[in-house]
Amino acid sequence: MTIRETIKKYIEVNNIRYNGDYSELDLYLQDADIEPIVDEQRDTINVEIRCIGNDIDIQGELYNYNYLTTLNRADSLYYFFTFDIAFDSTFDHIARFSLKFNAIDSNTWQYIDPTWVDFHAVGSFTRLSDQQSINIDTDYYDGEVIPLIPTQTTIIRPGCWTDYLDGEQHITMRISDVNSFNIFKDVNSAIAYYRDGDADGFLNADSYATKKFEYFIKNTVYKNGKLLYYRDYKFKTDSQADPHCMALVRNDSVGYDHILNGQNSNHITQILSRGRSDRANEYAPTSSAPTEYLRYSQETAGGNNYTVSFWRTNIHCFGNQNDADDYISTGNTENSTNNHDVNRANNTIVDGHIGEVVTQTDNGTSGISFAYGGQIYALTSVNLASFFTNVLFSTDTDIKEAILEGTQLFGANQINAINGCMYLPISDISDIASVSSVNKCFIGTYEAPITAQRVVANDKMINCGSAVFEPTYGDVRDFEPYCKIYAMLPYCGTHELTISKYIGKTVTIKYAVDVTTGACTAYLYGNNVIMDSFDGTMGVQRPITAVNQQAQVSSIINGIMGTAESVSKTVGTAGMAIAGGSALSSATTGAKAISAGGEIANAGTNFGGGVQGTILQGYNALQASLDAPMSTRGSFSGVLGQFGNQYPYFIFAWLKTSKPANEIETVGLPSNAGGAVGGFGGFLQCSAFNLANGFGGTDAEANEIYAIMASGVYVS
């Protein structure tokens, strides 16, 4: 028996249960306005639907229709039915709900690509075989809990149906609006995404950048060397365009806090956290206010307790509040440094007087006018050919006579009115000069009928673009000798640069080109401050007269000689590495350290030897690798430059390195911090140690303590 029914007003379908013989639906109706409208007889199966609500009990009647049948596929008997539920106009759309029951096994439920029209979404569904619900996260909402362990409570909303495609069961959903839900391939994909940020199985990640609504911080906090927290934070916003960032802010009472900033804090709709002990469980709302939720990661606390914190995050981090505010208000990321280090945050003095922070350096501008007298014209190759063919070497007698008439001022050397011709590898001359378009040019007083652009002033620089060079490791490996940076500058050569000038900054390259000589200078900026500049020759003289030819050859020779001086200049910091190794070796000389389970007095030597060996191995490898990662050279001359790169490049060469994952816990990090031993946590190796007053031991005991502290001890 099949009955088609129209249910008006509100309906909520809850708790679909399969009891082995039939399924039950509890339909809670707010309005009893139910009118049977269509009957359609079909063969029946053993499915019973019970509907309860507002004193309506329609037990034994099946709502609605689509079709009702049984399917026997893959040796499984499927009881299949569908039905429609129609809402009245106040709800303004029709929800369709269908289910397919698999009596044998219904553990595998998957989505197919939904058609997002006219229907609402479903939040979750019940796996019928064991009455467990699996949240499929289609109606993603702030604070939603993603259960790892299915619960028995679920709500199935209208708008979901199953289908049988290619031998697999599916659930299909339709919604009325543009999809704003996260859709996952399966439940595990949803869990992996929310827990780890793993987007595999995130079906609509590309088409709808929902991920940008979420920011995360995976935060590990150590205190006195002990793992205090492993806490994941996830916070959601309702604005994709709202920038968020963290700033390192000084708090005099507790040290440095990382403070979350947002353009409009109201956009931060939810902050969830998950601690170390419950990592396997779901996120839970945190009670911390948005601007305080990272209080736990204070880095210093008045010298008594130091906390080492690490995190992986997709949030921009800034060294101070001003940079963060600048980013929030303007979107300017030029000061983005991913900087969590207090010293680096304050180390922004890049130029100028000591103590004065220079945020920008300005280039001068050439004010020389070429409007009169010696004039400069910019021509295309076609126009140049026209100039030579139709003007200068024209066969037209009238033109010849006119040119000679107009250049009488030059006496017998009238050709000297043509001062020269040069090719510049710049397609748009207005990149380097202010120009005006003309359709004639003067040779002396003769008006030559050619179309050209006349250079009025050589007053511009080419902006080759910008890039932000973010640190890769966030540690010493982002700098020499572990990393080297080279600039390959067209017509200015290849040069090694100092990384600290550019890392973590917006790097800009500009070219100044001299239209009178073809010389050029490449300026390299880090955060709008000139860090380096390199000279070269861009113009190629195109001789017209013998004097021009001689000048060209001379310039090429000079250029080659200049290049020879700088060619094959390899990176020269190996000496620094050796020096560093020696210094460290010296620092550990004589240290009596402790090896696990060994004698204190003797085992320390082994530890010290180990460090020393590591130094030698590491820096020997460094030294060996530093021979020739890149060669530098000066600029080219003549046409040669046109065979080089025509785009500016920055090349990063990273030494392949290995850093122990447990370094902090086992041997700590290099330090130069001073304070009471009790203020340190975990491993501590001292370069200096002063035993406090009140020591009542012998000299031998004091010496042993000195030796132990020099070789390393675990304070906590």
């Binding site: 690798s625 090349i651 392949k656 290995s658 002063n690 132990i708």
Partner: protein, 145 residues
């Protein structure tokens, strides 16, 4: 002389100890006695081979038990003073400059424990401006009005 025996489960290079299995016993010194490395002879108790640590109140010091020698019904213990635990309060108050630290490390200091392999990996950042080796501009210099 009273000796408090313990089992210490914390490695020696710690400033803290985890002491369990407290056992109080009597022993006497074998002359001559080095207070930093005393040798104690006492009646043998099988439990004593399961302990590795002791405190001698008369000396005011904690000791590691480095070795046992059992001879009939007596046992001889070879001790070495545990300076870290004995003077831990003084040490914790002492000033130091850290060479390496788990809590006060600086990621931007040169780190001996970063090993380097031979060879580099390269990344290239290309800037958008394209110089025109073909299709550039000819500059013509003319003396004219």
């Amino acid at each position: 002389m009273q000796i408090d025996f313990y089992k210490n489960t914390v490695p020696k290079n710690r400033l803290y100890r985890n002491l369990t299995g407290h056992l109080v016993s009597q022993g006497h010194l074998i002359d001559p006695c080095d207070v930093l490395n005393p040798v104690i002879k006492m009646a043998y108790n099988a439990y004593q081979v399961n302990i590795n640590y002791c405190y001698i109140a008369d000396f005011g010091r904690y000791y590691f038990i480095n070795d046992y020698v059992i001879e009939g019904d007596t046992i001889t213990l070879y001790l070495h003073v545990d300076v870290l635990y004995t003077y831990r309060n003084t040490i914790l108050q002492s000033q130091c400059v850290a060479l390496r630290s788990s809590s006060h490390g600086n990621l931007y200091f040169k780190d001996d424990f970063i090993q380097a392999e031979n060879g580099y990996r390269y990344n290239v950042s290309k800037f958008p401006y394209n110089f025109a080796s073909v299709g550039g501009t000819y500059i013509l210099y003319i003396a004219g009005r």
